[in-house]
Amino acid sequence: MSQKVLLNAKEVNIILHRLACQLIENHNNFTDTVLIGIQPRGKYLAQRLAKMLQDEYHVEQLHLGFLDITFFRDDFRRGDKTLEANSTEINFLVEGKNVVFIDDVLYTGRSIRAALTAIQSFGRPKEIELLTLIDRRFSRHLPIQPTYSGRQVDAINKEKVMVNWQENEGEDSVYLIEKEVSG
């Protein structure tokens, strides 16, 4: 298995600041905006961005939630394993709000398709945007594109993009990993 560094800690930090600024540009003081991290991995990016917006850009009122899409996925009973759920933590309604979905990697677009359905359980948003740290172009199965993207990556299907966070894996970094082809 070979791996290559796509982004190091410094580059991740620069990109996070840029994304935070782009959000402020579009959403001003966030009164009608809610940030929704897509479980499981989008949660960390959402938390990091929310913290940055509050601590460094002094956004006071910020609604942050986490959405689990397991029960809305379109591959139930299609894989070998039972799909395992994560928790959904949304303690507000999204009715009439500007929703920003936050996920670490945009790949086929199917997770976001599921999230678009799942969020309807919490009301009818005014608008939904998508923020993603890594946008794997040319891999989309559905007509879904990010509104804000950290870095565009052209990876082939046997490659995997792995996003690490300081609080979990000990460092902020993004790797491109070539998966071993079994058999």
């Binding site: 397991t70 029960f71 039972t82 959904t88 359905t117 919490f122």
Partner: protein, 309 residues
């Protein structure tokens, strides 16, 4: 561990403790779902479930049906009273006829113990036992344990007494298995005539004095006296049963600690528990009903995910 060890839920006897853990963790997610403004997920939209009730039920049938609909499964209902069973059709024929209409899962209540096990060996569908005679009622035991876990934090190490008609109760047997799997201490309490002769062989304590039992326990699960299953008199009168084995507020208040009261329903108010107990804060009877939907969603979801395309 993300998969059940079984393809059917026939009884708690066939599960292991990881299965129960997985069902509870999945149920936690569904409990969150059923408290949303829109209480439905599309997971099982290509699954059809038949609810076959060869015996009367209100709560369990509604709970299963709601659980299935919350998961977006297609549901067909059948009750023996209006069926060809009355015309002499066998169980396998009845079920195979239903399955030929492309049904993936069968939820069945049947008066004969072992009906679910029998069916699972003869038909090609996932079977969920919703009560088979006086044998097992696994989803009830799961929701009971889930409710204890919710109220007291865990089931392990807790003292649980099951009070009343143990002899005719499938809820009692499933609860004993489920509680023991999770490391709880179990006691049964009731008049001698309603305690099975060798029940202590299951590793449960046996007590005939209700006050002693309540003083020992953290949780008391009060069972209904099942008059419909009693062919002879097991106690002199309902009044006498209530005096010896009924729980009232004065009795609860006289205990050293505050215990949790459960009841699988339907309640005979004034027989096994009085109204002031049933409606008190110590009772989690309505929590049990709400949890029943979440737990059944978890069971159906986990079993359905094992049905291959």
């Amino acid at each position: 561990m993300s998969e059940l060890s079984v393809n059917h839920l026939l009884g708690i006897k066939y599960l292991n403790s990881q299965d129960i853990q997985l069902i509870f963790e999945t149920a936690d997610h569904f409990k969150e779902v059923i408290n949303r403004p829109i209480k439905k997920v599309p997971s099982l939209r290509d699954i059809t479930i038949a609810n076959l009730f060869f015996e009367n039920s209100t709560r369990t049938r509604l709970s299963f049906e709601l659980a299935e609909k919350r998961l977006s499964a297609d549901v067909i209902n059948f009750s023996a009273a209006q069926s060809s069973v009355k015309k002499g059709e066998t169980l396998i024929d009845t079920v195979n006829n239903i399955l030929s209409m492309k049904v993936d899962m069968v939820v069945m209540r049947h008066p004969n113990p072992g009906a679910g096990v029998f069916l699972s060996k003869h038909v090609n569908a996932s079977i969920v036992n919703a009560g088979d005679g006086a044998h097992e009622h696994p989803t009830q035991a799961l929701l009971d344990s889930y409710s204890i876990r919710e109220r007291l934090g865990s089931v392990e190490g807790k003292n649980v007494v099951i009070v009343g008609d143990i002899l005719h109760s499938r809820v009692a047997l499933s609860n004993i298995f489920a509680l023991q799997l999770q490391g709880a201490n179990v006691m049964v309490c009731g008049p001698k005539t309603l305690l099975p002769k060798y029940i202590d062989k299951l590793g449960v304590k046996v007590e005939t004095d209700l006050r002693k039992a309540l003083n020992w326990c953290d949780v008391a699960n009060m069972l209904r006296v099942q008059n419909e299953r009693m062919d002879i008199s097991y106690f002199p009168s309902t009044r006498e049963y209530t005096q010896q084995y009924g729980v009232n507020k004065a009795l609860l208040d006289s205990l050293d600690k505050e215990i949790t009261i459960m009841h699988p329903g339907p309640i005979n108010r004034g027989v096994e528990i009085t109204s002031d107990v049933a409606d008190s804060k110590q009772a989690i009877i309505l929590d049990q009903v709400q949890n029943g939907v979440a737990v059944r969603m978890a069971v159906i979801y986990l079993l359905a995910s094992k049905i291959k395309h």
